[in-house]
């Protein structure tokens, strides 16, 4: 909020976003709004697992567009260490449909591994191509002082790391972490008043897919909710995938980033592995993706991730990204996938 040059009494509402089953504090908006001095203004909690703050941004935008409020804070956070590790294990075991899937011992990596196997079978995507995504994101994490991992890794490091859920290995998976990020949204009038470098929300998309994997087939090589959310956001912003200067995509696993390339239209269907292999998502190439380290290497504080993506884009669109600055970046896209792929929020920002 210091960065945004607004004081707490100018914030007309706050939206607190987290994956609530990890919070020891029930209904965290209560304590967070109090601690931040955001009473008596409206506050409440929003949850869409990993896409919580992406959804929060949509709600905040509609509060402003509908005229209810002029300034809204979207506060994303996660504090995974509140629960004991036995409790976390138990919660993690209920990440899918608890009636028909969790009773067989599903895990988050397993769900995405099912997509990985399917994508590899269908398009010939390789474990080396997956590894390349982790290598890129760890490389950029070394340039982001806020990232959790600060060491470069090699394709070999990835391939040799411990198997988690075949074909996904340790370095194919992001690490849950503690963290928080806040977005201040304002109406055009207020935004122009408080800053000389406003960044505008140009497109919004939100879509869902069935939670049960069995309701999603016939193939597991794409996330329908990503495709639908992207379509909405591109339409609203009146741009095409090729107009995007920098993207933050939800790389909870390496396979997810590769599928995202395709779902977002950064490459043809089935060419995501190739795009990674060719290094086309590095700074200076076709489309820079997750050059802040992504979830894989920056860390994944579940409820904060969507807001953190927006922070990276805002820095880029303001030309404040230092060493990783995309020259002349004018359009940024954030892709925030929730849970095992049942929610997706896509946000397009413009200078």
């Amino acid at each position: 909020m210091e960065d945004a040059q607004v004081t707490t009494n100018e914030i007309q509402a706050s939206i607190v976003c987290s994956a609530t089953h990890y919070d020891k504090q029930r209904t965290p908006a209560g304590v967070i709004a109090e601690y931040l001095g955001l009473n008596p203004q409206p506050t409440f909690n929003v949850e869409a697992v990993c896409a919580s703050s992406g959804v929060g941004l949509r709600i905040g935008w509609s509060f402003i567009s509908s005229g209810l409020h002029d300034t809204v804070a979207v506060v994303g956070f996660q504090k995974m260490t509140e629960l004991s590790s036995a409790e976390v294990q138990e919660v993690m075991g209920r990440s899918g449909d608890v009636m028909w899937e969790s009773p067989f011992g599903t895990t988050m990596p397993a769900y995405f591994a099912l997509y990985a196997k399917s994508h590899m079978q269908k398009y010939g995507t390789t474990e080396e191509q997956l590894a390349k995504v982790a290598v890129k994101n760890h490389f950029y994490a070394t340039k982001n002082p806020k990232a959790m991992f600060q060491e470069e890794i090699t394709v070999e490091d990835v391939l040799k790391s411990r198997m988690i859920a075949s074909p996904l290995k340790r370095y194919d998976c992001c690490a849950n972490s503690d963290g928080a990020a806040c977005i201040i949204l304002a109406s055009e009038d207020v935004a122009r008043k408080v800053t000389d470098t406003p960044v505008w929300v140009a497109g919004l998309g939100l879509a869902s897919s069935p939670m049960a994997l069995t309701s999603r087939g016939p193939s597991y090589a794409s996330f329908d909710c990503s495709v639908n959310a992207a379509k909405q956001a591109y339409g609203m912003a009146r741009i095409k995938p090729k107009d995007v200067d920098i993207a933050e995509v939800h790389d909870c696993f390496t396979i997810t980033e590769i599928i995202n390339y395709e779902d977002l239209g950064f490459c043809e269907r089935g060419r995501g592995g190739k795009l990674a292999e060719e290094g086309q998502t590095y700074l200076g190439s076709k489309i820079p993706v997750n050059i802040d380290g992504g979830l894989l290497a920056k860390g994944h504080p579940v409820g904060a991730t969507g807001a953190s993506q927006i922070r990276t884009l805002v820095k880029q669109l303001r030309g404040e990204a230092g060493e990783t600055q995309v020259n002349g970046a004018e359009i940024g896209l954030a892709h925030n996938l929730g849970g095992i792929g049942m929610y997706c929020a896509v946000t397009i920002l413009k200078t």
Binding site: E90, F104, L213, P218, Y220
Partner: protein, 139 residues
Amino acid sequence: MSFAKFGKVSYVSETKLQEFETKLEAGKIMGTKCKKCGRLYFPPRADCDCMKGEMEWVELSGNCKLMTFTTLHFAPASFRYEVPYTLGVAQFEEGPTVLAPLSKELGEDEIKIGMSLKLVPVELMGGRMIYELKKLESQ
């Protein structure tokens, strides 16, 4: 009514589908079908998407094809002594799909997307009931 035995662990305290478990114990894999629109559901549902129909129980052949799979080396707390184990998604010849464990008798290198499998009821120690995907030959 609730599932007293279904699943290695069960989380759901109440269900309108208790009969599924009874039939599973009797060796049958049951889906439900909408009497109005004819849609067939597996996993079974008590209500149809069309919001118009009564449902009836229908037995499935269990014959299916593997769509994707993964072998887990890390597991939730209650499954920690079972790793590695393999889960897969398979499509029944009748149309619906199922997420289920693959029988441990299948070696990881034998498993291929597209292979034919059969979903069969399995009783675990302690009387709990699950279903598993098995090789066709092993029937």
